[in-house]
């Protein structure tokens, strides 16, 4: 099967496509389609010609297979020093093979590569620090992810996530208007309890930028507004609020800066 309805090479660019993909619970149909997704070797080869240059090429070639990178990788360490988690092994068996075979690989190989690239590497680049040549498997996996993506072999959640970013410019479906509106009615809702509450938007020459994870205005509207209150509280009460994770805010005297910091530390469970 060349391209599936949900699982294909085309990135998500419209809301309809996004909702269709989201509706496929846990990506059941998506992964079924992926089992028979075709691999376009000539496309991969073309990608290599354009972007696989000195640095990546040399890294794959001069690896002496010394496995010094092993102890740098927390996947290796956390998996009881499983040899299959050695960064060199992971990259040589995926990108290395892909390069050697010039993209002429099958569906099974691409699914294994996708699995390795996304669940066996976080691209933390620690291996680059431990390798005598500075070979950076994190960078190579990042590159490999791009190749997998171009062929449609990307985890369901991440196809959604990248689609979200493309459409909403955040990892969740909160538009700029949604965000500003939410700020406004948060203020309106709580103005009685907190007179003078303000969430200024686009304020010039501000000292602090307040940003939230898109998830907050989207799903945790009840507790989220507590955060902006922290900024206005010291002005009103001369005290610094502390959040203990149980929806209770405990004021405490700031004392000296260092003292306050130490006292705040155990309580900041936001």
């Amino acid at each position: 099967m060349p391209q599936g309805k949900l699982c294909n090479k085309k990135p998500i660019t419209t809301e309809d496509e996004l909702h269709e993909l989201l509706a496929d619970k846990s990506g059941k149909r998506y992964y079924e389609e992926m089992q028979s997704l075709d691999v376009d070797a000539s496309e991969i080869e073309a990608l290599f010609r354009k972007s696989f240059k000195s640095r990546l090429k040399s890294w794959l070639e001069i690896c002496t297979h010394c496995a010094l990178c092993a102890e740098s990788c927390f996947f290796y360490l956390a998996n009881h020093k499983d040899p299959k988690q050695v960064p060199s092994y992971k990259i040589q068996s995926t990108l290395g093979e892909l390069v050697r075979r010039k993209g002429r690989v099958d569906n099974t190989f691409m699914r294994m590569t996708m699995d390795t690239a996304w669940s066996k590497c976080t691209c933390c680049n620690r291996c680059a620090l431990y390798c005598p040549f500075g070979i950076d498997m994190g960078v190579m996996f990042s590159y490999l992810r791009g190749i997998c993506f171009s062929q449609g072999f990307v985890p369901w959640e991440l196809k959604i996530g990248s689609g979200m970013h493309r459409i909403y410019r955040a990892q969740m479906d909160i538009t700029t208007e949604d965000w500003v509106d939410t700020c406004q009615w948060m203020v309106e809702e709580n103005e009685e309890e907190w007179p003078g509450l303000e969430i200024p938007v686009d304020k010039e020459n501000a000292d602090i930028i307040y940003t939230v994870n898109a998830r907050d205005p989207s799903t945790t509207r009840k507790i989220w507004p507590m955060q902006p209150f922290c900024f206005m509280w010291p002005e009103k009460t001369g005290r610094f609020p502390v959040w203990d994770g149980k929806k209770q805010v405990w004021p405490c005297s700031p004392g000296t800066g260092k003292e306050a910091g130490c006292r705040l530390k155990p309580f900041t469970k936001v």
């Binding site: 640095r55 001069i62 290796y76 020093k81 680059a128």
Partner: protein, 225 residues
Amino acid sequence: MYEFLTGPMVWVAFGVFGIGLTVRTVLYLRGLDWKLDRVTYSRNIPFGIKGAARSVFFWLIPLGTRSWRNNPLFTFAVFAFHLALIMGPVFLEAHSILLMERWGVGFWSLPAMVSDVLTLMVMITSLFFILRRFGMAEVRLVTSFYDILVLGIAVAPFITGFMAHHHAGSYKFWLYAHILSGEVMLMAIPFTKLSHFLLFFLARIQIGMDFGIKRGGMKSKGMVW
């Protein structure tokens, strides 16, 4: 046979070695691209140079980096191997005599005993590497026949040279084997991972620049690229 091995073959071997490494260097430098690598090489030169120098320097000292320190025995073997590999042939009396006979230029050389020790060091550390490859699970999985072959190519000149020097068995055989294996090694360098002879420096300079410019080296200086 002797004339061929010590005549045209030498020229071919050194020619392939020299031209091969030059070509590799040029190709490497041409294949660097600040947009692909995401390192602004030509824009932040001082930081790049500093990063590159640090990178090469600390990795050329035994126990200079954390990775070396975590594996002290392996580090010692690696440094001993490479030191002996380079110093041995370059400062060998027999080679110096050859040069003197050919081109009238001698080269300072080590006492015979020291050369012997260096040669044995290459052989012993190579044995250690082979044992390590099969003894440690994480190394065994990434090891292939290619790694053993390349190590064999590198060590063969030392074994054969040692045998020839000590007139063990047939001198002629070991001598020819030594010359041929030396030439094979020289020719293999540009085409195999033995190219790390040069690429170690290029790769380390590149990653050193990367870290010096992009990954923290310019932390305190305005926009971090």
